[in-house]
Amino acid sequence: MTAPAAPRSWTGRLRGRAVDAFPPDQLLPDTQPAYVASWIYVFGVLTLAAFIVVLVSGGLLALKGPQWWHHSSTGHYVNSLHLWSVELFMAFMVIHLWGKFFMAAWRGRRAMTWITGAVCFLGSIGTAFTGYLVQSNFDSQWISTQAKDGLNSAGIGAFFNVLDFGQMLMWHIVLLPLVIGFVIGIHILQVRRRGVVPPLDIDLTDRVPEQVKP
């Protein structure tokens, strides 16, 4: 009996590579190494959960437009949901980041996991910042007129105009969430692919599986 021919179509090749990189039991494992036992691990999934709440509350605000929350008590409550979910999202992410730093979680070919996480953090700062700019109230007036100086001094203000409400709204509700969502997806896939980093300073030589032992 001959072995089945390798798929030659782009679709078949993509499927083959995806299944090779992420077999189902690695993509959604129901066990974890015994060392994955600390409250610090919860903050990664809390960050992801808060991100979902941020997206949903922001989506509700988008349904009725940027002025709705100024003249509707329901809208004001939805805006409050958006604000507090962002505060929680950033708090969880900062704790998650510090935890990963002190675990030196980039070890074992996991540098890209750290880098995508760091990019998520930086992108989230930019997204939150544009959110403050599009509140269309006194706070957004003050923040935009102050922030312009820093951005202009770096040459960024020439094409990223924080005083342009329309431009900032588009960045806040379309461009930046798309980028962050994409990078978060890559980050999670990296975690699934490389697994959770093992503890520092322990002898793991007897844990290396047979098939990769020298």
């Binding site: 959604l28 494992p29 129901d30 066990t31 974890q32 190494p33 015994a34 060392y35 994955v36 600390s38 999934v45 809390l46 992801l48 959960a49 808060a50 979902i52 509350s57 004001h76 409550y77 409050s80 507090w84 929680l88 935890g99 730093f101 002190f102 675990m103 030196a104 540098a111 760091a118 930086l122 700062i125 109230n137 706070d139 007036q141 003050w142 007129t145 102050q146 922030a147 820093g150 202009n152 001094s153 770096a154 040459g155 020439a158 094409f159 342009d164 709204l169 490389r194 697994g195 959770v196 520092l200 300073d201 322990i202 844990r207 290396v208 599986p209 098939q211 990769v212 032992k213 020298p214």
Partner: protein, 321 residues
């Protein structure tokens, strides 16, 4: 690269990928964990929103400003007309003012990026809006006189009135007599226009029905002191860790603490290039943060600071046993 090569590298680093982990494992329901986390965060968010709400300080517009602080408005308008205001002398991206752009050493990214939002405060903020005011014979005559003379004479009139208005602390009725040409009539009309709300619309629309770009009205407002006075009262000033704060007692963008920190200390605090220097420094720190895994010393800190002993205390205890 063969599997054996991978194994040698992994063993050398003593850090196998956990996907290859063959040691003890524990049950771990990722989906259940995510669903529980989502419910908890949603409920926590709903509770925080119900308990603390969110701030919404009403915005300042040119109408509010000119009615609440007419002297500040008039003085600011005078600086727009004689092109001595913050916006008129800002440099890129608003004006071509020489040597106004901030620098890091000899490099000025602000200057390199160029004037992409050109603003002529004389015409954009004063003359053009006034030209749209109907049925005002005095103003029509004043504008004809203004437009019918050269730039030098316009500048002399505007500067003389700006100086006189400053001496009179913004009170037009106390301005000493002088050669101001049509300027007093123009600025008095601009004040009236602003108080009626007409200037807000004129600066925003700039000939377009649909408009979302508030660059001009915001820059005009920011050139006065009214906006900053109110911000300082709300502890939002630059030397009050302003940008990271929120109005009232609400948490703001606490994650901007490091960026805001540099503005509170020397040499940034008093430097004319503070923004460029702080942004340059933050750019370097940002790159370092992203590439921590590759920076000798920094990447070793977790080994020196035994926080990991706390995180993995159960595992270390079990391996010792």
């Amino acid at each position: 690269m063969t599997a054996t090569d991978v194994g040698r590298r992994a063993a050398r680093r003593n850090v196998p990928s956990a996907s290859k982990w063959t040691g003890p494992v524990r049950d771990y329901d990722l989906v259940k964990e995510f669903v529980v986390a989502l419910v908890v965060v949603a409920l926590l968010t709903a509770a925080l929103a119900a308990l603390f709400s969110s701030p919404d300080e009403k915005q300042i517009d040119l109408s509010t400003w000119s009615r609440s602080a007419p002297a500040d408005f008039l003085q600011t308008a005078a600086t727009e007309l004689d092109a001595s205001s913050g916006t008129a002398t800002y440099g890129a991206p608003y004006s071509h003012t020489a040597d106004a752009a901030q620098k890091i050493g000899p490099i000025s990214l602000q200057h390199i990026a160029g004037v992409t939002h050109p603003i002529d405060t004389v015409n954009d903020f004063v003359v053009n809006p006034l030209s749209g005011v109907p049925a005002n014979a005095d103003l029509t005559t004043a504008l004809q006189q203004w437009k019918g003379t050269g730039a030098d004479q316009q500048s002399k009139w505007a500067s003389a009135y700006d100086d006189a208005l400053t001496k009179a602390e913004g009170d037009a009725s106390k301005v000493a007599s002088g050669d101001f040409g049509p300027v007093p009539t123009m600025l008095a009309s601009l004040l009236t226009m602003a108080q009626s709300g007409g200037l807000d619309g004129a600066l925003l629309s700039q000939g377009h029905f649909f408009a979302t770009d508030y660059t001009k009205p915001l820059l005009f407002i920011a050139d006065g002191t009214y906006l900053e006075d109110r911000a300082r009262a709300e502890h939002l000033g630059g030397d009050q860790w302003g940008m990271m704060n929120e109005t009232g007692s609400y948490p703001g963008q606490a994650w901007l603490w490091l960026y805001t920190f540099w503005y509170q200390v020397e040499p940034f605090k008093s430097s004319p290039n503070a923004d460029a220097l702080v942004w340059g420094l933050m750019a370097l720190l940002t790159v370092a943060f992203v590439f921590v895994p590759f920076i000798p010393g920094i990447r070793s800190i977790p080994r020196w600071v035994p926080v990991h002993r706390l995180i993995w205390r159960d595992y270390y205890r079990s391996t010792r046993a």
